[in-house]
Structures are given as structure tokens and as C-alpha cells.
């Protein structure tokens, strides 16, 4: 079973990202959980959400405290929130930032052993979707960085879901798919 923690700010889509990932993992035949940090929801305040993904049914209903993978939607959080809290020494940290993994390691003093991956998902989403909503492209980066899902399968499933959701807005569908693909190709590992 893989446990994932998403860090973002209220309104940035950390919860939606966890739900999207769960939905994509489910489509690939996995058992899933996705849940937000349960607390007051305030725009801009640090928030977290969580995933569990497993090939067998998930019975565990306690919080995620030792995530194998941590995803940071907003790097400005890293000054005040210890995003690596509880991570195992060989965990994976994926950050939405224009800097390289080596720079992130030094700037934020990330422990040795943790695999750092970076992608400028904000810029990608502005260029492809027209707004800074980094959660969708982060899915592409996550799959490249960790291999938890099959990229092609996920894209086909995502296309179907977007086509259903945005029937009247084909440009939204194309933008989102492009964003995911670009993040998949551009993530620095």
C-alpha cells in the first residue's frame, strides 16, 4: 500500500488533486482512499489531503502519518510547514517549483535519501489552462516520478472523464490534458 500526502493552500485544489488521483487509480483496478485534512477551510491557509492506493481492499481508517510520497502544490508553504514530517528515509518529495531538485535540497535542507522531484506546474497550468491551478499537471509529474500508475491508461481515463464533465468546453479538456502531459515530460528527477 502506498500512502501520499498533498500540501497546498486552501483554494489551490489539494483536496481535488487527491480525489482525481484516487479516481485515476481506481480506474486502473486499484483500491483507493482519498480524504482531506478535516478542519476549518480557509482560503490561503496551509491544508493537506491524503491518498492510500493498494492492490487489495483498504481497511485502515486512521490518518496518514508516514507518507511514502509527499506532493507540495505551493513551495512558499515549506518555510512554515515541515512537509517531510513522518516520511521514510527513502520517500519521494515532489514540489511545484521552478528550481531544480538539487536547489530544493539545499534551500529547504531536505534530508539525505529523500528523492526530490520538481516541476513548474504553476507555469505549465498558466500556459495550458490559462490559470494557476497546479493540481492537474502535478498528476502527470507524480506518475513520471513514482510510476504508481500507467501514464497512457491514466490519460485515456482522464480524457473520458473530462469529456463528460466539460461537454461544452472542449478547450478546457485539451488544456488539462496538455498540462498533464507537459508536467509528465518536464518533471526534473
Amino acid at each position: 500500500m502506498i500512502e501520499i500526502r498533498w500540501h497546498g493552500r486552501g483554494g489551490q485544489g489539494a483536496k481535488t488533486a487527491a480525489l482525481l488521483l484516487a479516481d485515476a487509480a481506481l480506474a486502473s483496478g486499484k483500491y483507493i482512499q482519498a480524504f482531506p485534512e478535516y478542519g476549518p477551510e480557509r482560503m490561503g491557509a496551509p491544508v493537506a489531503s491524503f491518498n492510500r492506493i493498494s492492490p487489495s481492499p483498504i481497511k485502515l481508517h486512521s490518518g496518514v502519518t508516514d507518507p511514502d510520497i509527499v506532493i507540495v502544490l505551493d513551495p512558499t508553504l515549506m518555510d512554515s510547514v515541515d512537509v517531510t514530517e513522518g516520511m521514510p528515509a527513502n520517500g519521494t518529495l515532489l514540489v511545484n517549483i521552478e528550481k531544480s531538485p538539487a536547489e530544493v535540497k539545499v534551500i529547504f535542507g531536505i534530508g539525505a535519501g529523500i528523492k526530490i522531484c520538481t516541476v513548474d506546474a504553476s507555469n505549465i497550468s498558466i500556459e495550458t489552462i490559462g490559470r494557476d491551478i497546479p493540481n492537474t499537471p502535478m498528476l502527470g509529474a507524480l506518475i513520471k516520478a513514482t510510476g504508481i500508475l500507467d501514464f497512457k491508461e491514466m490519460m485515456e481515463d482522464m480524457k473520458k472523464k473530462l469529456e463528460k464533465k466539460f461537454k461544452t468546453k472542449p478547450e478546457v479538456i485539451a488544456g488539462n490534458l496538455k498540462a498533464i502531459e507537459r508536467a509528465y515530460n518536464e518533471v526534473r528527477i
Binding site: 480525489l19 483500491y31 482512499q33 482519498a34 478535516y38 481497511k59 485502515l60 481508517h61 486512521s62 490518518g63
Partner: protein, 394 residues
């Protein structure tokens, strides 16, 4: 059976989905965290014309249950949803719904009661109304929440008693999981059409509902109600049997998990039972004879059946997500002890009570491991506190 759909849904979405398939005549509700989405999503179905339900947005939970009582007495299939303070405000009308033998079904999302004010999970709200005459069904996860809602309609209408189906606030209500949804046709065929035996709008067979009932007949009517809740146990089993045969998911009055050869056992309800199963798996792989009993039905309380399942145990821990404020154990522990008192001689007398998770306090694997550890020691004769409070600072 048609092909089932596998989808990702939160507990609230799962319950709303069941309500859509049930397509009740009336839903009257007032929103409250963390149950809001159940009726919010359902109101969307009404607005989109996916159900034919008359949706009554009332100004309080007291009114919600009052409207449900009116609707059910008139002969309509009636549902609602609430939580915590909302359930508390309904309390007066809950007793009336049960006393009038109205088969209302409620989605009840477990949440702590004020004061202090708190929106997170515990079982205090549901336990507060355990004597109201409602059948109470607990769900471990989203799948059970969905399955229990479909079964609840059948149980309520056969038993002529109201039923509340509970999920754990946020943990299940807002947690997305894999859910197998029945086809609409299968779900509709299973719940069937509601044909009330007595109802106000039946002009061929006029009845009086809610008449004054003093020293002459009140007791007889209450005695009938008591008998109805006793009889509901078999109805619950029959409905579960039919559900299992049709759709392959088995339910009973409670679930026994790895109880074959078990010597130490935890009794726990709701989402925590799932977490406890993970601990049991770990202990079993180390050779510890640990098991779990998860009551699904708290009302009626399956006294004899639970006592039978606990036969031969060396030590029992009962985990309560609420306290009775009686300077004793939690409500589930008291019921289990009462069940064991009437059990055949030689039944386990070592029963430890654990109060946990009040106001949403996290319950971790380590907490449950600690309970099994206590049980191991208690089974070897070591004295343990009768009541412990897990994960609290004191």
C-alpha cells in the same frame, strides 16, 4: 443481476446515491456538518429531475423530523439525514416517529455533541437516542453505508419501525473509497414498492394517528413496540440474507473477524473496526490469537448472539467512541457486560472498557495494539484498569 459499477465515492455521496436509487416520496431535511452533503447532493437529484421526490427544505431538524412523520403517516416512503446537534434537536420527534411505528429511514453521520463545540466524529449523538425506538445500523466504510441504506428501507417497512444508518463523520462521510454500486434496476427491484398497511390518506380504511393514550392503553401500545423491536432482529437477518444472495455482500447482526481460535477480542463499531482488522492481521501473523467482533446492529442489541460469539474468550475489550456519563463504562461495554451476565456459566468475565476518539481524536494502529497488549496480559491474570481512556492527555 446486472453489471455493478465500480466508482470512487465519499460516504456522503454513497448514501445520497442509495437515496437516489430508492427514490423516496418525501425527503425533509436541514443541513448540518458533516451530513450536509447527503441532502445537498440529493437536493441536486431532485432539481435535475432524477428522482420524483418531494423535497422539503425545513427551518430546523425538529421540523425536518416533524415533516417526515407527517409524510410517513400519510403513507409516503420517507427519508432524511442529519448529525449531532441536529439529531439532538430531533430527539423529541424521533420518539414520536418510533411510537407511531413509522418506517422513516435516516442517514445519520456520527459527530460529537456540544459542549465544547466540535464537528468531528464520535458516537455520542447516536448513543443519545439509543432508547428512542429507532433501529440503529453502524457502517464501517462507504460500501457498508450504501448497502445499509438500501437494506434499511426494507427493514423499516417490514418492521414498521424507523431506521437510522450511521457513518463516522469525516472519516467515512468525507473519505473517498472504492464503491460497488448496484444498477438502478437491481436497486429498485430490491427495495420494491412501498405498500403501507395503514396510512392516513387511505379513505377506504380510515385510521387515527397520534391519539391520546393514557393509563388505559399506553402500556399495551408500548408493549407492542417492544415486541416489534425484538422481532426486527429476524427481519434484519432476512433482508441481509436476501441482499447477500442477490449481490454477494454478506451482512449479519455483527461481523466476526478472525474469531476462529481467538482468545482475546476487541468489540468495536464503525470505521475503527477496519483499523482494528489491520492490527488483528498483524497479530495473527505473529501467532497471537486475536479476533474482532464488529456490531453492525446496535438497536436491537443482539444480546444472545453476541454472547455466543464471545464464548471461550480469555479477555474482551470493548471500545466505545462515546461515554455514558454514568461514572462507569461506555454504552457498548455496558450492553456487552449485560449480555455476558445472562450467558451460560463459564463465559468470559474479563471485560475491559476503553473510551476513545471523542471529538474526532485520532485512533491509530498503535492505540489498538496497546489494547490487544492489555488483553494479552489480562488473559494471563494480570490486573488491568476496568476503564481506560485511549489517547487522552491527563
Amino acid at each position: 443481476m446486472d453489471k455493478t459499477n465500480i466508482v470512487a465515492r465519499t460516504g456522503n455521496e454513497a448514501m445520497a446515491e442509495a437515496m437516489r436509487q430508492i427514490n423516496p416520496d418525501v425527503v425533509a431535511a436541514y443541513p448540518i456538518t458533516p451530513a450536509t452533503e447527503v441532502v445537498q447532493i440529493f437536493a441536486g437529484y431532485v432539481a435535475d429531475g432524477l428522482v420524483k421526490t418531494e423535497f422539503v427544505p425545513v427551518e430546523s431538524e425538529h421540523s425536518a423530523m416533524s415533516a417526515c412523520i407527517g409524510s410517513a403517516a400519510a403513507g409516503g416512503r420517507t427519508m432524511t439525514g442529519t448529525s449531532s446537534q441536529g439529531l439532538a434537536l430531533m430527539a423529541e420527534m424521533l420518539y414520536i416517529a418510533a411510537g407511531l411505528r413509522l418506517p422513516i429511514v435516516m442517514a445519520d453521520v456520527n459527530r460529537a455533541l456540544s459542549s465544547p463545540i466540535n464537528i468531528h466524529c464520535d458516537h455520542s449523538d447516536t448513543m443519545m437516542v439509543k432508547e428512542s425506538g429507532w433501529i440503529q445500523i453502524f457502517s464501517e466504510n462507504c460500501q457498508e453505508a450504501y448497502d445499509n441504506m438500501l437494506q434499511a428501507i426494507r427493514i423499516a417497512e417490514k418492521a414498521k419501525l424507523p431506521v437510522m444508518v450511521t457513518t463516522d463523520g469525516f472519516i467515512i462521510s468525507h473519505g473517498m473509497e472504492r464503491l460497488e454500486i448496484l444498477s438502478d434496476a437491481d436497486a429498485k427491484a430490491f427495495v420494491g414498492e412501498y405498500k403501507p398497511e395503514y396510512y392516513l390518506l387511505n379513505f377506504e380504511k380510515p385510521i387515527t394517528v397520534g391519539a391520546l393514550d393514557l393509563t388505559d392503553y399506553y402500556f399495551e401500545h408500548k408493549r407492542q413496540q417492544i415486541e416489534a423491536i425484538k422481532d426486527s432482529k429476524q427481519i434484519i437477518l432476512d433482508v441481509a440474507g436476501e441482499f447477500g444472495a442477490k449481490f454477494g455482500r454478506e451482512y449479519g447482526l455483527f461481523e466476526k473477524y478472525k474469531m476462529d481460535g481467538a482468545e482475546i477480542v476487541i468489540v468495536a463499531m464503525g470505521s475503527t473496526a477496519g483499523t482494528a482488522k489491520v492490527v488483528v492481521d498483524g497479530l495473527r501473523s505473529k501467532g497471537v490469537k486475536a479476533g474482532l467482533v464488529k456490531p453492525r446492529i446496535f438497536r436491537p442489541f443482539p444480546k444472545e448472539e453476541l454472547a455466543e460469539s464471545l464464548k471461550g474468550m480469555k479477555a474482551i475489550a470493548v471500545m466505545d467512541r462515546s461515554d455514558s456519563m454514568n461514572a462507569q463504562e461506555g454504552p457498548l461495554a455496558l450492553e456487552i457486560k449485560a449480555a455476558l451476565y445472562d450467558a451460560p456459566a463459564g463465559s468470559c468475565r474479563t471485560v475491559l472498557s476503553y473510551i476513545y476518539g471523542l471529538g474526532g481524536r485520532e485512533i491509530k494502529l498503535e492505540d489498538i495494539e496497546l489494547v490487544y497488549n492489555d488483553l494479552s496480559e489480562a488473559s494471563k491474570g494480570k490486573a488491568k484498569p476496568k476503564v481506560s481512556y485511549l489517547g487522552v492527555r491527563e
